[in-house]
């Protein structure tokens, strides 16, 4: 069972993306290593009770991003040359920053205003009591 995959009903992200992020996360923390086999699409779908077509989309995108490789008739594997650990986390950070830049554009903020808000939020987080 792969019950440690969590599908959240309150997460606004679509299901395929939730599963994708969790596979990437497993690679980022070293739980899955280059060359490791990952479950077949149908097996993972059954284990986490999400439609086959959703997991198919997850795997297709991970393949396109070079994170996994599917070998015909042999299954899917974490790519040998996957950009691991920090660089994968950097990609994740970049995608958050891209979202922030897009949101700022919708608010007509300048780059400097966005940077100032980032510094303010950063200060707030640092002063938060644990």
């Amino acid at each position: 069972m792969h019950s440690s995959y969590i599908i959240s009903q309150t997460d606004p992200r679509p299901l395929y993306l939730q599963v994708k992020e969790q596979i990437r996360h497993r690679i980022a923390v070293g739980e899955l290593k280059p060359g490791d086999e990952i479950p077949s699409i149908r097996a993972l779908a059954a284990d986490i009770r999400v439609s086959v077509i959703t997991i198919k989309r997850t795997y297709l995108e991970l393949e396109r991003e070079g994170v996994i490789q599917t070998r015909q008739g042999r299954g899917s594997f974490v790519a040998d040359n996957v950009r691991l650990g920090d660089s994968l986390k950097e990609q994740e950070l970049d995608s958050h920053l891209q979202a922030a830049v897009r949101a700022a554009a919708l608010l007509n903020l300048t780059e400097e205003q966005l940077a100032e808000r980032l510094r303010a939020i950063s200060r707030d987080i640092k002063t938060e009591k644990p």
């Binding site: 606004p12 097996a43 779908a45 009770r49 086959v52 077509i53």
Partner: protein
Amino acid sequence: MTIESSAQAFALRGVGKSFRYFKLEGLDLSLPLGQIMGLVGPNGAGKSTTIRLLMGLLAPEAGLIEVLGYPVPARIAEAKREVAFVADDMRLFGGATLAWHMQFMASIYAGWDQAYAVLLMRRFGLRAEQPVRSLSRGEHVKALLLLALARRPRLLILDEPTSGLDPVARQELLTELMEIVRDDSRSILFSSHNTMDVERISDQIAFLDRGRLVDVRDKETFLERWRRFQVDLPLECRLPALTDIVAESREGRLATLTTNHFQPTQVAAVEQAGGRVHEVQRMSLEEIFVASVMRNRGEQLS
């Protein structure tokens, strides 16, 4: 006469059936093997009629029906060996026990899996020796599901399977349904009001309303195409005419647009007209369903 390749769990082509107060018209619907289809519709949409046509319980007045490659209703008896059907209003033999029912099914169906039946009994919290008359409503539905699942059917058809179940039993059922499609030759059709269940496990989604198929698509395409955008717009500005907009509302400086075929050019057109798109939202299956039905009814009126 065959409709198409045998790679379909079922196929309906141009199917029609009329009753005194209700008419099902021009229904085209098919499901590839190995997939789950969720049939969604308000009460009286024609979901149960569609299912009864597939099970040969009703004869169509027009069109062709095939189930696992067998023409229906002509050869329904052969199809039924590999098709299991559950509706929550099905009756069991009240005085007999669940064990008796299990033996009865084993004597009829070659594919009966007694070990799986016993496992399901434990998972569903049912007792072999209890007369089915004394089952609660939820237990009755679970007993029906057990008797269908343990046949290991190639096609499982469920009419509102989760309606009488508590949240725990519903999750157990979803688990068993997903177990079925580990095997890529087995398929499921289920109707439901619970769009959350449909959204989670269906590969294909079909919307029915008032006897017509409003839309059918694979789920990912469905969810990917629909978007709602919130627009801020100066009072003097008019919203541009956009393609693929199914609903539009405006309240002063705020407008909401719903599209069933999202394209970035729609956002660009709104901004060119002087509006500012401040949010583009995904929609849940339930929201998509309601918007589809409202639009369908609007078109019927006009």
